[in-house]
């Protein structure tokens, strides 16, 4: 390809705290009557002052940590000054040069690393509704805590962007700090897209780390108003095509903000900026800075749950699950928790792999069926072949010869290793074996 897309991403995630970022209005504004969740602070009344929400700050740090960010000990809020009718104070309280988190990464399945430049804390604006020649404003959303996650321009296609977004969504849901529901606007994305000359790019990146961008095009196009993963893919592909055509004709695309128009299925120019935005950032005088102790940061870390990647690996290792199964079961934390609960109540009488199969293939409704009920169901339906002791012994010996480490692990007290071995034996048989029998036999053999 003649051009290589250069794509960066800004994602805004709304936190599901009880109260707003700088006042005690309820942050649960969705679907509420307009302007019923406001106070002097979030309406920007004269004299009202912001006082930051401790929980929101901690959650921002959690998100940063789960993306592998550094969390500097000193941080502060800044004012970002600009005018828009939905911006109550005429400035947004955000973070400029000293955000809570910097330098993180997300690793894609391909092994490619997307670098995260920063994760910072800010506040949401009110909501504008356009009706013909008037616009209506609802300030219920004004001041809801918002975490902004900014990547380096490391993406080269829409699929990478989509995978990144899914991972990010999964992580914040695991942390239980946001519903990350795109349709409700809990998670909002702004990709910036440009095309680089592939030759130039390769030539320039030779001396650098593979993901380091050393050649950036002299323009970039930002796309807003995207409220689903599907649209982000479409919008990026549309832009790549549009910009390619312009470049082919010998011109440079205009640096601008475009919006995704879901009716026309295309991006449309939103405003041609006559002059660069000048946000006139300066330190927020109303809020004293934040200085962490190492202990405080460790304390936040200790409150974080196991993250999807770790869980994925553990499910494979401990339960003998395939990539595919582990991926599906860890996609949502609730599913993963359900699975683990089922494994626990099965008391090793049913193979984890069998539970996984049931959950994935029979689409178990976790709302209707308790894990214990699922295990009973499985036990009742599982008709196992009568055991041929000799055949089984042979299978076990074979599996033992290839899995000495698992045996050692078991001998060293790692109970879960046994289930792995059971799984291997079951897999190597062309008959449906009774897991409990296999397990007993394995234990017996190890003790021999």
């Amino acid at each position: 390809m003649k051009y290589t897309p250069v794509i960066g991403l800004e994602v805004h995630v709304e936190l599901k705290t009880n109260s707003k970022m700088f006042c005690s209005c309820s942050a649960d504004y969705f679907g509420q009557k307009p302007n019923t969740h406001t106070c002097p602070v979030c309406l920007g009344l004269p004299g009202a002052l912001p006082v930051p929400n401790q929980k929101a700050i901690e959650w921002c740090v959690m998100i940063g940590k789960s993306l592998g960010c550094d969390t500097p000990l000193f941080s502060k809020f800044d004012r970002k000054n600009y005018f828009y009718p939905d911006l109550a104070k005429g400035y947004q309280i955000s973070q400029y040069d000293e955000p809570f988190c910097v330098n993180g990464t997300i690793k894609l399945k391909s092994g490619k690393v997307i670098r995260i430049r920063r994760v910072h804390m800010e506040e949401d604006t009110g909501k504008l509704i356009h009706e013909g020649n008037i616009s209506l404003i609802d300030f219920n959303r004004s001041g809801v805590p918002l975490v902004e996650i900014v990547t380096e321009p490391d993406f080269e296609n829409a699929l990478e962007v989509k995978e990144y977004l899914q991972k990010l969504q999964q992580i914040v849901r695991y942390l239980d700090v946001s519903n990350a529901d795109m349709e409700k606007g809990n998670m909002r994305l702004e990709p910036n897209i440009s095309l680089a000359d592939s030759q130039l790019r390769i030539a320039n990146s030779k001396n650098h780390k593979p993901s380091a961008i050393s050649y950036l095009p002299p323009y970039k196009v930002e796309v807003k108003n995207i409220n689903s993963f599907r649209f982000v893919e479409k919008a990026i592909n549309f832009e790549i095509e549009r910009q390619e055509k312009i470049l082919e004709s010998g011109k440079t695309p205009v640096q601008e903000t475009r919006g995704w128009d879901e009716k026309k299925n295309q991006t449309v120019s939103q405003r041609v900026k006559e002059e660069a935005n000048d946000y006139r950032y300066f330190p927020e005088p109303d809020i004293p800075p934040i200085r962490w102790t190492k202990e405080q940061l460790a304390q936040i870390q200790s409150q974080m749950p196991e993250l999807p990647d770790e869980k994925f690996e553990r499910f494979q290792k401990d339960f003998g699950l395939s990539d595919y199964d582990a991926e599906i079961l860890t996609r949502e934390k609730e599913t993963a928790d359900y699975f683990e609960e089922a494994v626990l109540v099965s008391k090793n009488k049913v193979l984890p792999k069998t539970i996984a199969n049931w959950m994935i293939n029979k689409k178990v409704d976790s709302q209707q069926t308790l894990p214990a009920a699922l295990i009973i169901q499985i036990s009742l339906t599982s008709q196992t072949s009568p055991t041929d002791e000799k055949e089984l012994g042979k299978l076990i010996d074979e599996v033992f010869s290839q899995n000495e480490k698992a045996i050692d692990d078991y001998k060293n007290g790692k109970e879960s290793a046994i289930m792995y071995l059971v799984g291997q034996v079951m897999k190597s048989s062309n008959q449906k074996l009774n897991a409990q029998t296999v397990k007993e036999k394995i234990i017996h053999k190890i003790k021999e």
Partner: protein, 94 residues
């Protein structure tokens, strides 16, 4: 030094007449000339101070409290509609 008054007025969202622009240009230049005296002060190894209290880590607990009733929120506005604040259409959105 000359301030680009039109540019600054745009950033500041201030509608200024031609007369005002001319007047302010002169006065602002005068003020800038005065404040340029600061260049005489050596601040090489000096950290900036943005707050004098020395306070740090002042936050509130995440507890929600009642908001203003809708009519209180809207009562000072000159232009409302169905519980919303109303403005003329924002031109640069689609």
């Amino acid at each position: 030094m000359k301030i680009d008054v039109s540019h600054v007025a745009k950033l500041a969202n201030l509608p200024l007449s031609k007369e005002e622009k001319d007047k302010f240009e002169k006065q602002l230049d005068e003020t800038l000339e005065y404040v340029n005296q600061l260049e005489e002060i050596d601040t090489k190894n000096v950290e900036p101070t943005s707050q004098v209290t020395g306070l740090e880590n002042v936050t509130r607990e995440d507890i929600a409290a009642p908001s203003l009733p809708q009519e209180q929120a809207l009562k000072n506005s000159k232009s409302t509609y169905n519980g919303f604040f109303k403005v003329k259409a924002i031109l640069d959105e689609s």
